[in-house]
Structures are given as structure tokens and as C-alpha cells.
Homo-oligomer: 523 residues x 2
């Protein structure tokens, strides 16, 4: 298809693009999220592959949502229909999938760093080729893009960054740069030449502009305006059926009763059911943009200044603020409350997005408290408890992207027995797994995953075989802590752990993935 | 002393400052690193505390090295003499130490986020006060400062950011922003008013400038030029005596023999003995600035582009690229080699800088290989092996900030027996601890900490009691992996772990800290 494209004359590009878009829309249907991000760059995608000699020339996309047309054009049209299905195409750019996917991209703001790497490598190897990155205005709010612009802008290498300005990303873009539309002075201050093209959806204008900027030496930016269909409306969840609904619903109560609490989120409000709350409390729900490090340190600053800060963040993005959790929050004993959304296997977003690392790493942060509710009602009880309690350090309330049965309304308890009988074997579990796994003889759910309750040691002493179930990758976490405690207690029994394997898990339905990765005999 | 200062008339400020500096220099002597950073802002410090009503007004310093004069002025002059000594003052800003230390700062680029937090909290509480952050030109290369400027610049709050431009931080500042001196257009593009003051070491000019900008509404920046004594000369280490010397020495060999290898470091070359190599290979030793996320993704980009990338980074700063390790390097199976310097307890830098988390978190990253040499010669063997081997994923070679005895030159081996005799107890250790701990009956050193060698299970099966020694905080790491393996093998014995406690460890001499935190009976 690329070869077909390159054989065309410029006047034929528009109808080529239109036909391509029609095929893609027919293939991917409504089930694919963020399709609008790709549609907005249909013309750009065609123009880039027309002008560049990909894959010899390097093309880096920032965040894969822009990449559906690119996938279609680079030999994957037939497979689009199965995108995000088990065994099907990834929803993101992926190196394993195609030589045209030069650099994987599920998290934002990495593309210009990758481009800097290409420039440095080519400097050593003497390779001459075009080097282009495409980044959206939303991804530009992530500080790594600044780091890369500032560094690469000083190297003098031939490189092109295309700013795809469509007024948003996963949510409306925040920040002064976008509000002021000061991209030109911004990139020039970082050593880049700046060219602006209003007609970012005119494929022939794009081809001309690209040919022009690619002929210039040194670091070049091309800022284009693109139009996309309206943003998907803020997600709303059917009452009582998902952890996300319970979180947003209960946050409404918390914010109503506690006028001093502010809730921050790095661009994830709309996707998580917080849309209506933002309307209600515009000054207390603060979208900080796609910048997790800043979000976490800002929360620390709020608490240091005498306020109360809660942070709503996806587990996979919390990885980007790991140091800020340690250095700014925990070390300073600042009681920030974290709603860690999408903790655990996320399903069709796949390996870039599974929230499978924080289960272990949060427990290794001194002074952290970690709660994992098993259902919506327990999540509700936890949020109310977090608001009422005088906390002495960070509290992490982790919940999966999952349906939940609800459960019985109740106050917060650190643990509860799911089943209790005779027998010497104990099943220990935490989070949504507690409701999913078939009950053992004796089954204890730890809502408070860490630290352990004062009587936990004496509970363990009643059993010979302790099975630990946990939706996390790694050697630590609940399983590691139970093992360590048993050794300390000189407990004569065995600890048998059931965790996710130490591998990257592909995309697929959440329950299927759990069955395939260690929990098949228990669900 | 603050009260004395505020009673002065402006003409008296200069002699006040001079006398203050004299006292500080006499107190801290040569033993304190980065004194020049503080001396450069002596006049600024005095001017700020003169104009502001601290601690009611908020003053946030970015990175504590600027803070020695501030400490002296805010009641800690007497204690300066014991700074960085056990029980003495921290070398950094620290909330526990003084109400004047509004926000702790050992890692760079966090101050403007903290300032944003103050503005948001004050918006809710209605508190009216001055809010000021001081950030150096070096710290501005960290993307979190951009995230905060862009966000806070759009909020319209009254806030002041002082850009302390002294041409460097821990090393000379890199990046186009600094080379072009385009701070004005940069901050204006992010919504900030800009004022420039050339005379950043003139205390009366500073007072006037501060009074002027603090009277303006909205987000304000004041860019000042300050002069500091020359940068400390690049560190050089006595041949053969430290891990740092062995790393730099061997990298010389590696770079000489492998012309395609590039070595990146986020501003840490000079402090780690790589100064001479940078002179020798200016195009292959690349200082990326204080921006760990960008550094790691750039390395991934180099490898994706067909090059070879090694990264030199401190353990404590690797925390800032945790997500990039997962998302850009490991998930894409890119064989970047990491020299993880300052892994373990670092000594007098204290809790912001101890490298005690990566020992656990690196082992939880799928596909990672982790090597911990016990001495300089083993480190040398590892670097040479890393250069020679066809790697299939990231390799982390971790070494402490420590002296080393050297040892016997030898090729890389995955493990070695330190001692072997009869008896049913096995001591397992990794890294420098292997040379430090008194030998057990049977003592196995794991140079390759992870993954385990094929014959490791059969070794374990010969022993009843396995002691694991590891310089790491947390429930995973080597101890967690050994426990998990023993459970999997149905090993009837016990695993007893010796790790650092789950707490933040204060500053002090490295060996003393190890003794005080779990290893007293073994060193």
C-alpha cells in the first residue's frame, strides 16, 4: 500500500486519503477508543509516508492513539478489525508488530527523546536519513518532551518535530503554552526553527510544508492545526457496577463534606467518571495535564501549605512519579491520598498499561499505607475513612479497571474473613481478587494490604500452609511481606505465592488474562 | 538573626552579608561539597529574608545545595560546623529541621511544583502571602520544572520564580535554553512575566528588584546572574581504590575498543571520575542534563536506531526513570547497559540520596539482568563482559559509593564461593556486602544477582538454612526471589533475610549506617 501511495501524483493524494479513512473507519468501528486522534492525522500520516522513505527514514509517533491510519497504511489494514482483541493488533505503536513502528508508544511524551537517540546514533554511524517525530499538544505538557527539545535543540542535528495541535489529547489540553498558543516562541527558545501550517488536514499543503522543512538543516518544528471529531464525551459508568463508578460517586460525597480537599489528576478525569464532579467543583478538581511528576509534587506542596490533597492517577502512570512519591511525599511524611485507578491487569490496553508494578513498589516505600478494596462498597468505605482519618503519611487506595458486584455497605475494616472453617491451610488475598477466587477452606481478605494489623501474626500462627494471592508482578508485595514475617516469627509452615509472572502480559480481556497468568485454578 | 536582619536599613545589607558569608565559610570548611552554590546566592538569600516575612511567606529552594547561607540565617549557624556529620544538620533543605525549610530538596526540579501546590492550597483557604521559589539554571533542564511552569503559568496566581543563573549546577548546564540565554522568551511562552537583573550579587539591587516584582500581580519570574567560585574540578579517584575509579578506568578501555558505544549521563560525569574520558571522546560521552527520563528514553532510541547505548546514572536518580525503564527499554527488549552508581547506602548525602530502592525494583522488571560486583576487579570484568556479550535486554551493573580493595583480576563469572566447608547453613550475598561481611561457613557471592544461574536450585538444595544479605530496602529483591524459589522447589529449609529496614536512613558514614541498620553482627 505504501508503494501504491508513493506512485501517486500529488493531486491524487486527497482521494487516496479519503478512501483510506473510509476503510479504517469501517474496520475499527466504535469499539476502538480514541479513533478521533487517528482521524485527525489521516492527512498527515499519508503526507509523511509519501514524503519520507519509511522505514529507512525514521518516523516516531508519540502515544499510539495517533497510529491507526499509520497501521493501515503500513500493511496492517486486514488486521485492524481485530485490534485490541486477543492475538490481534495492539492499540498502540509496537516494534514487534512492524518495522514501520520504529518506537513503541503507550505512554506520552517520549517521542522526542527517541528522536534524540536516533540523531546521536546516526552521528556515530554516519547514517544519513530523515528523522521525524509527531507529538500532540497534549503530550507536550509532559516534561520529558521539554527535556528532549532543550537537549536536542542544542545538538544541531537535522531533525523534525511535528506539533500536532488538535486542542487536546485524552482530555482538553491544559497549560499556558496551549492557552497562549505560544508554540513558536517556546520552541525557538529551545533552539528549534518554527514553521506554522494552519491547514493540517490538507494533504497537499502538508506535503509541501514537509518537503520544505525537511530540506532545512538543523532542528526544525512544524506546527500544524488539525481538526478532529469532538472529544469522546466524558465517560459515565452504570451506577453500582464498576470500581470507577464507586470512586467518582464517593468522591462526590467526600468533596461535599470536606471543603478543604482538592483532587488532582494528570488528564484522567474525563476517562474515569469524574466529569460531572469537575463541573460541580471547578476549583477543587484540578487537571494538571499529562505530567505525573508535577502532579505528585504539587499534591505534596498543597499539604505542606496546610491544605489537603488527593490524587487520582492510573497505576501505570504512577510509575512516572515513583521518585516524587519517595522524595517529596513519603520522606516528608505528607499525608497525600492516592486513588490508584487501573491497578492490576487492565485488559485491552495491554502491556504498556497494565498496572502490575505498583502493588510491589508501593509497599517498599517507608511510611506508605496500601488499601485494596475487594468491591465497590469497600472502596466507598475506604474513601470515607481516608477523609475522616488523621493520616501521618501517604495512603494508596488501589482499584482495578473492572466491574464490581457492589457488596454490602460497611465501614472500613482492615481485614475480613471470606470463609472460615477447620483446616490448616489459609488463603490470603487482597483487592478484587478476593471476590474473584474460589474460596479456600479459610480465606482472609486484606483490605489493608500494608501495614499488617497488630493481630496478623497470631492469625498466621494458626495455619500451616499460607497461600497468598495478589495481582502484581515481582518478588515483593504482599507475598514477600508474608514470607518475611513468617521467617521472622520462625513460623514452621509454608508460604505459597500466586502472583502474575515476571513477564509483560499482552492485551486481552481482564479475566482471561488472569486465568492465563497464574490464577486459572482459582477463578 | 532574621530579626536583626529585618531591623537593618538597606545600606547596611552589604556588610551584613559579607559578615554572614565569612562566618559560614569558617564554619563549613572544605569538607562540605557544593559550597560554591550557596556562596553564589548569599546576597539573594539575605535579600529574600529581608523582603519576605518568612516563614509565614513561603520560600522554596530547588535542591538544597543553595541553602547553606539560608540555614545560617535561620537559626542554624552554630550547627553548620556539624553539617553532614552523624546527628548533625542535613546538607539539604529539610522540613524536620526548621519551619524555614518549607519543602525538602535533595533532587532537582521540584520547587515550582511545590509552589504550584502552595498557590492551589491558598486559593482554597483564602490565605494571602508571598510565594517564592528559587531554581538554578541546571535544575531548569529537568522537565518537571517545565510541567510546573506551564501549569502554574495558566492559573494566574501571584507567585514568583527566581531563576538563579550561575552557568551550572553539579556540572556545566547543557541545553539550548542556556546556550541561547533565552529564558525570557521561554518563560513568557509559558505565561510568566519576565524581569532580568544582571547584578545578582548586589544585595541592594536584589532587594529593589524583589520589591518590584513581588508587587506585580500574577506569575512573575526574576532572572538573575550570579557569580560563584569556579566549579569544583572534576573528581578524580586514587587508582584502584574506589568503585568509581574502576568504572571510569574500565569505561576507557570499553570506549577505546568499541567505537559504536555511546555513554550518556544526566549531569553526573564530573562527579564520578569521567571527566578525562569526556575530554577524550566528546561525541561519545553525552551529558544529557538533569533529566533522567529523557536520558533513559534517548538511550532506548540509540539502540532502536542501531547504535549501542550505555547510561551512567546514580541509583537514587534512576528512580526518576522507572517508567522509562519499563516502557521504553525493557518492554522493547532494548539492550541498554546501565552503570548504576551510588547503589546502596551513600553516606553523608543522606535519605534523599541513598540508593536503596533499585535493588528491589530492577528485579521486578521483566527481562532485566542485574549484576552487583563485590570489588573493583569484578566490576571491571563485568564491564568488559557487558561490552562483549550479545545482550537481549537491559543490563544493570550496580556499584556503591565506596572504597574497594580491588581484588584479583578475573573474567566475569555469575557467582563465586567466598568460603566453603561442611555445615548446613549457606550465606548468600551480592555486591560490596560480599566483601564486607564476615564469612559464614558456606558463603556464596552472587555477582549476577538476577536471573539465577541454571544450577542455583541444586546449590540451594544442599543447605537447610539460607541467609540472604542484601543492601536494599523492601520485600522483594534477592531475598524475595530466593524465598519464592525455595517455595517453588518445596525446599524444606528456612530463608533468613538481612536487608535494610523499611525506613528512611539518615546521613552518616556508610559503614556506620550499615552497622546500625541490620548488618552489625556481620561486618
Amino acid at each position: 500500500m505504501i508503494a501504491d501511495l508513493r506512485a501517486l501524483e500529488p493531486p491524487q493524494l486527497e482521494s487516496f486519503t479519503n478512501s483510506l479513512v473510509e476503510q479504517v473507519v469501517a474496520a475499527v468501528t466504535d469499539k476502538i477508543p480514541h479513533l478521533e486522534s487517528s482521524l485527525a492525522v489521516a492527512e498527515l500520516t499519508v503526507a509523511l509516508h509519501y514524503v519520507l522513505n519509511t522505514p529507512e527514514d525514521v518516523l516516531v509517533w508519540d502515544v499510539g492513539h495517533q497510529g491507526y491510519i499509520h497501521k493501515a497504511l503500513t500493511g496492517r489494514m486486514e488486521e485492524l478489525v481485530n485490534m485490541r482483541e486477543p492475538g490481534g493488533l495492539s492499540g498502540f505503536l509496537k516494534r514487534d508488530e512492524s518495522p514501520y513502528d520504529f518506537f513503541g508508544a503507550g505512554h506520552a511524551s517520549t517521542s522526542i527523546s527517541a528522536l534524540a537517540g536516533v540523531c546521536l546514533a546516526d552521528q556515530v554511524s554516519g547514517k544519513s536519513r530523515q528523522r521525524v517525530a509527531v507529538i500532540g499538544d497534549g503530550s507536550l505538557t509532559g516534561g520529558q518532551s521539554f527535556e528532549a527539545l532543550n537537549h536536542l535543540g542544542s545538538l544541531g542535528a537535522d531533525a523534525l518535530v511535528i506539533i500536532n495541535d488538535n486542542e487536546g489529547s485524552i482530555d482538553a489540553t491544559i497549560g499556558a503554552l496551549h492557552h497562549q498558543q505560544s508554540y513558536g516562541t517556546y520552541v525557538q527558545s529551545l533552539g528549534w526553527q518554527y514553521t506554522f501550517l494552519e491547514q493540517g488536514n490538507d494533504v497537499r499543503a502538508l506535503v509541501e510544508a514537509l518537503q520544505h522543512v525537511l530540506a532545512q538543516p538543523g532542528p526544525q518544528t512544524l506546527h500544524i492545526k488539525t481538526k478532529r471529531p469532538d472529544l469522546s464525551p466524558p465517560k459515565s459508568y452504570k451506577p453500582g457496577t464498576t470500581f470507577q463508578w464507586w470512586a467518582a460517586e464517593t468522591m462526590g460525597v467526600v468533596l461535599e463534606k470536606n471543603l478543604d480537599i482538592q483532587l488532582l489528576s494528570p488528564a484522567m478525569f474525563a476517562g474515569s467518571g469524574f466529569g460531572p464532579l469537575r463541573e460541580l467543583y471547578p476549583n477543587r478538581l484540578i487537571d494538571t495535564g499529562i505530567n505525573e511528576a508535577h502532579t505528585v509534587s504539587t499534591a505534596a506542596g498543597i499539604v505542606a501549605a496546610g491544605g489537603k490533597a488527593w490524587v487520582h492517577i492510573y497505576s501505570t502512570f504512577l510509575q512516572r512519579a515513583f521518585d516524587q512519591l519517595i522524595h517529596d511525599v513519603a520522606l516528608q511524611h505528607l499525608p497525600v491520598v492516592f486513588l490508584v485507578d487501573r491497578a492490576g491487569v487492565v485488559g485491552s490496553d495491554g502491556p504498556t498499561h497494565h498496572g502490575v508494578f505498583d502493588g510491589d513498589f508501593l509497599m517498599n516505600i517507608p511510611g506508605a499505607t496500601v488499601w485494596n478494596p475487594r468491591n465497590g462498597n469497600e472502596l466507598q468505605g475506604m474513601l470515607l475513612e481516608a477523609a475522616a482519618r488523621a493520616l501521618e503519611g501517604p495512603l494508596f487506595i488501589r482499584y482495578p479497571k473492572s466491574r464490581t458486584e457492589g457488596g454490602t455497605p460497611k465501614d472500613f475494616v482492615a481485614y475480613e474473613w471470606m470463609q472460615k472453617s477447620e483446616g490448616s491451610s489459609l488463603w490470603l488475598s487482597t483487592g478484587a481478587l478476593s471476590d474473584l477466587i474460589k474460596k479456600g477452606q479459610n480465606h482472609l481478605h486484606l483490605g489493608q494490604n500494608w501495614p499488617f494489623s497488630a493481630d496478623f501474626s497470631s492469625i498466621l500462627s494458626n495455619f500451616e500452609e499460607i497461600h497468598v494471592f495478589e495481582e502484581s508482578t515481582g518478588f515483593g508485595g504482599l507475598a514477600g511481606a508474608v514470607s518475611a514475617l513468617m521467617a521472622e516469627l520462625d513460623h514452621p509452615g509454608k508460604c505459597i505465592t500466586h502472583k502474575l509472572p515476571l513477564e509483560f502480559i499482552e492485551h486481552g480481556p481482564r479475566l482471561e488474562l488472569l486465568r492465563e497468568h497464574g490464577f486459572n485454578n482459582f477463578l
